[in-house]
């Protein structure tokens, strides 16, 4: 009976979905540590929104760390989802960096809200990366 159920379950899914899920990239400590670092750096930068020079420096570091995260995930086999997320996080941090470097004046509430977007996005990614199979 169990075998019949397993076979029925297996046939109810497409072969590609099964293959992708079974052979998906496993949990990677470095990948997880990188996204954790991005989240932490964004949280620290958020606390320094009152200091324009300091926050610009930290936003630049945030972009570099996101680039490192993206570069790290790119060539890991069967890691497309993580790669897509790291690319989007890089876009978010790049937009933030570009705006903070360009703008003459940044309102404190914008600074906090923008960095909260980075924190929330990094947290979403961290949650799913941490749940990858061991």
């Amino acid at each position: 009976m169990k075998r019949i159920l397993i076979v029925l379950f297996a046939f109810s899914l497409s072969g590609c979905a099964l293959f992708d899920a079974y052979f998906m990239a496993k949990y990677d400590t470095t990948e997880y540590a990188l996204v954790n670092e991005i989240k932490t750096k964004a949280q620290v930068a958020e606390e320094n929104c009152g200091n324009h020079i300091l926050v610009v420096t930290q936003v630049n570091e945030l972009y570099i760390k996101s680039l490192e995260f993206k570069n790290f995930t790119t060539h890991i086999p069967r890691n497309k989802d993580a790669d897509n997320m790291s690319t989007k996080l890089l876009t978010l941090t790049k937009d933030t960096r570009d705006y903070f470097n360009k703008a003459e004046k940044i309102s404190p509430i914008f600074c906090k809200t923008k960095l909260q977007q980075v924190v929330k996005s990094a947290d979403t990614i961290q949650h799913v990366l941490g749940s990858k199979p061991r």
């Binding site: 998906m24 978010l92 937009d95």
Partner: protein, 68 residues
């Protein structure tokens, strides 16, 4: 992030812009950020489903090997 949470963020940003707490450019910046966050959420949901499926497949393999 569900549609209600997204709408809440859009409303929050609009209120900040209307009250003059943020400039027009900053408002646009925040809205473009929501767009990216939504994309990240979609990818995260896809990966979470794959993780659940991986768990089920492995459990099925364990059951099948025990039954054999």
């Amino acid at each position: 992030m569900n549609p209600q949470e997204l709408q809440a963020l859009v409303n929050q940003y609009k209120a900040m812009a209307d009250s003059g707490q943020i400039s027009k450019e900053e408002h646009i910046q925040l809205l473009s950020g929501i767009n990216i966050m939504e994309g990240i959420n979609d990818d995260a949901e896809g990966l979470a489903l794959k993780e659940q499926l991986n768990l089920i497949i492995n459990a099925a393999i364990t059951v099948a090997s025990l039954a054999a």
